[in-house]
Amino acid sequence: MTAREMFEQFKQRFGPLIVRADLPSDNRLFVFVDPSSVRYVTQHIFRELDARYVATIGADDRPFSGKFLVSHNFAFDKEHLLCGVLAYLPPDKPQIDSITDMVPAASWGEREMRDLVGIEPVGHRYLKRLVLPDGWPEGSHPLRKDTLWNEVPAEYNPEREFKFDEAPEGCMVVPFGPFHPTLDEPAHFRLFVEGEMVRGCEYRGFMVHRGIEKLAESVMNYNDIPMLAERICGICGCVHNVAYVQSVEEAAALKPPPRAEYIRTIMLELERLHSHLLWVGLACHIVGFDTLFMQSFRIREPIMWMAEKISGNRKTYALCVIGGVRWNITPELKVELRAVLDKLESEWRPVIAAVSRDKNIQKRTCGVGVADAGLVKNIGLIGPVARAAGVDIDCRRDHPYAAYDRVEFNVITEQGADVWSRLLVRAKEVFESIRIIRQCLDKMEDGPLQLEIKDELPIGRMGLSSVEAPRGESHHFVITGENNRPRRWRVRAPTYQNLQGIPAMIKDQQIADMTISLGSIDPCFSCTDRLETVDLRSGSVKVWSQEELLKLTRKKAGR
């Protein structure tokens, strides 16, 4: 079904509720509705038309239209259609009906919108702070256009602490994180534990929010941002790099040259290869099976070298600019890449054969961290977590981008909905990635790497891009703007949705299963937090207070 047909269907159903619609292509649909009917429209789309919830975006559009803007994005995966339901809100007291009672997956999206843009989701049942630090004063919203990018409100109080929920009766609180051997990045779970059983948990994350979106919207330009975007994550950086570039290209109606599209596909699949191998290793480490951890890192290493040969870096490829790519894959590199893939395939096959027969690993992973198809739908879980529950979604096939429409591959699904199924999905996807890269190398035609862009990019256009990261769909939303930079750029990384499923996945499980359950979504807190760690090298011994550290970082940043 094309966007036009879907729109006709909407018109019949909603009629006068639709204020305006944009149909930039066959696969994109933006419907502007009256704010009071957002609940009705989204419920229909989510429940009756069975769309998948993708993201909620709030934007301060006052300097341009005089209003606030909210967009609930949905995906019709079978129809290959991404759809935004948008509503303009009055500038003085922006509020909109919460859709979380019908679309539970929107919970974080609405809380983030409330924190950062100050749009109140009326009727949201759990309006605790999500993104902003505890000491941040009420009423100050960083993503509003009248807040400067480097502004810290005068009332900021670093002493204020987060109010955690009360533990249920008879439960002991086990703090998990911010620092824990299996957490590579800070996140805090308060587990409510009865004996060895987890009865519930509360999550407090976003501890090192970097404000990347604000930075992009206020000081960087279109071609700086891809380099910033890939620093969102240390493992799937290229995904964000490509997704951002694609959403801008879509908004500006640019089509990169075919060779660039093939190179993007190859790099994305290389990234998936190294990420899946890394995940299998870490998962084994979590359950105490260090031998496979070491072996998968050994098998993974040549991929990293290959990436370095192509881009100059093991990670953080700095691949895309608007309208193309920066690195070529020369005939020599092609030969080498093929050899690396052959070796990887021949080494990975026996590993998987051994693991899939291993009763010992199955004992720790079967029936653990279950997220069934119902939970997948309600919380909007994606990627291997969804596919392991038999939900057949994959953006590479459903919303093709780069050169994915020109290659053949299978979408791997399993039925177990547990950690074991997720392990199988990832293990088998490695072979599909190898297949995709080989086809790309065969089909890649000669030609330019970049599009020549002579004109300014158009202003006020919207672009969406969903890229299938190793962890699931990474969704970028862009509104183009003045000064050679976007007005609004919103990143929804896969972990953002998958993390919301964790409380349900670990409930009534053993505390020993908590780490592997959390590990099974391949959590990437930096994607969620958009954080960065700062390595401080100081010759003398000194204990830094939070105040001093802030001062130091600000001095370094030249403020």
């Binding site: 105490g288 099976f289 004992k363 908590m514």
Partner: protein, 307 residues
């Protein structure tokens, strides 16, 4: 008088030997593990340097009750070294006259108690979860070794160390059913006694951040690590004397070498099992041990009827 002096000298020799060999066994274990994992691995003598490094560090008092923390660290090494005095290591047991198998069982239990004390002293949530796991596994594990020793004692008609710790489990006329059953039981549970994967549940780094040891650092941690290494050697020695006595009748240097060769084979076995398994969950482990306890009771009954 002369006998007493020999007893003390022998005991000290055993203690010295264990202290000397334990880090080497750990080094072998680490090297072999690394090889299985396609790694280079640390030098064989690395565990000695690790211990020296830890011993040279600042002694920090932390946790809820630092006194008990210190006591637990001393006691853990002391208890396991006391066991060393009672175990024949290629020679007959030096303290043969001073203690019997019952004392041995008590001292082995004391080692587990130290872990509990350490966890209680730390008082952190993780250490408490760790000791609750340790306690659960102790309750089902300790009877296993005790039954193995009692089976030996029943066959030997004596609780004396030298008589029990010389392959006594097979000392019956005809097929030693009870001894063979206990051999299988001990092989299956051996990883748990020496606290290695898949049964290092109470310390599980990736779950509990070393559990009871979470607050330990510096010299006190060194003592615990040393005790941990010594445990591997001593349990291996006990296993060898109880279940693999063959060749102990040879003339001295050869018997002695054979004994240590057997101990190192056992260490290698432990290494390979640890490197090829994932950690079990506590409930899975307890179910497994409980099954073994049931089987070993059968062995006990058989033994009491002289089979």
């Amino acid at each position: 008088m002369k006998a007493v002096i020999w007893m003390i000298v022998g005991g000290l020799a055993n203690v010295g030997l264990v202290l000397l060999v334990a880090p080497l066994a750990q080094g072998v274990l680490r090297k072999v593990t690394a090889r299985i994992q396609s790694r280079q691995g640390p030098p064989l003598l690395q565990p000695y340097f690790d211990l020296l490094k830890l011993l040279g560090k600042e002694d920090i008092e932390s946790g809820e009750s630092p006194g008990m923390q210190r006591f637990a660290a001393y006691l853990s090494l002391a208890a396991i070294l006391a066991v060393a005095c009672l175990v024949p290591m290629g020679f007959s047991a030096p303290m043969n006259g001073a203690g019997d198998v019952i004392l041995l069982i008590y001292l082995l239990t004391l080692c587990g108690i130290c872990t509990l004390l350490a966890g209680l002293a730390a008082g952190s949530t993780y250490s408490l979860v760790g000791i609750s796991r340790e306690m659960m596994s102790m309750i089902v594990l300790e009877p296993l070794f005790a039954i193995a020793l009692v089976v030996g004692a029943l066959h030997a008609q004596s609780f004396r160390l030298n008589e029990v710790l010389s392959g006594s489990v097979y000392a019956v006329a005809g097929t030693p059913y009870s001894g063979l059953i206990m051999l299988v039981v001990m092989v299956l549970s051996f990883q748990a006694f020496v606290q290695r994967v898949p049964f290092d549940i109470s310390e599980a780094e990736t779950e509990l951040m070393e559990g009871p040891l979470v607050e330990y650092s510096g010299p006190k941690l060194a003592l615990f690590k040393y005790a941990h290494m010594a445990k591997l050697i001593i349990y291996s020695a006990l296993f060898v004397t109880l279940f693999v006595p063959w060749g102990s009748g040879l003339f001295l240097p050869l018997a002695w070498l054979l004994f240590w060769a057997k101990v190192f084979v056992l260490v290698l076995l432990v290494t390979v099992v640890a490197a090829t398994h994932a950690r079990y969950r506590i409930d899975q482990a307890i179910r497994f041990f409980a099954g073994l306890v049931g089987v070993s009771f059968v062995a006990l009954i058989l033994a009491s009827y002289g089979h």
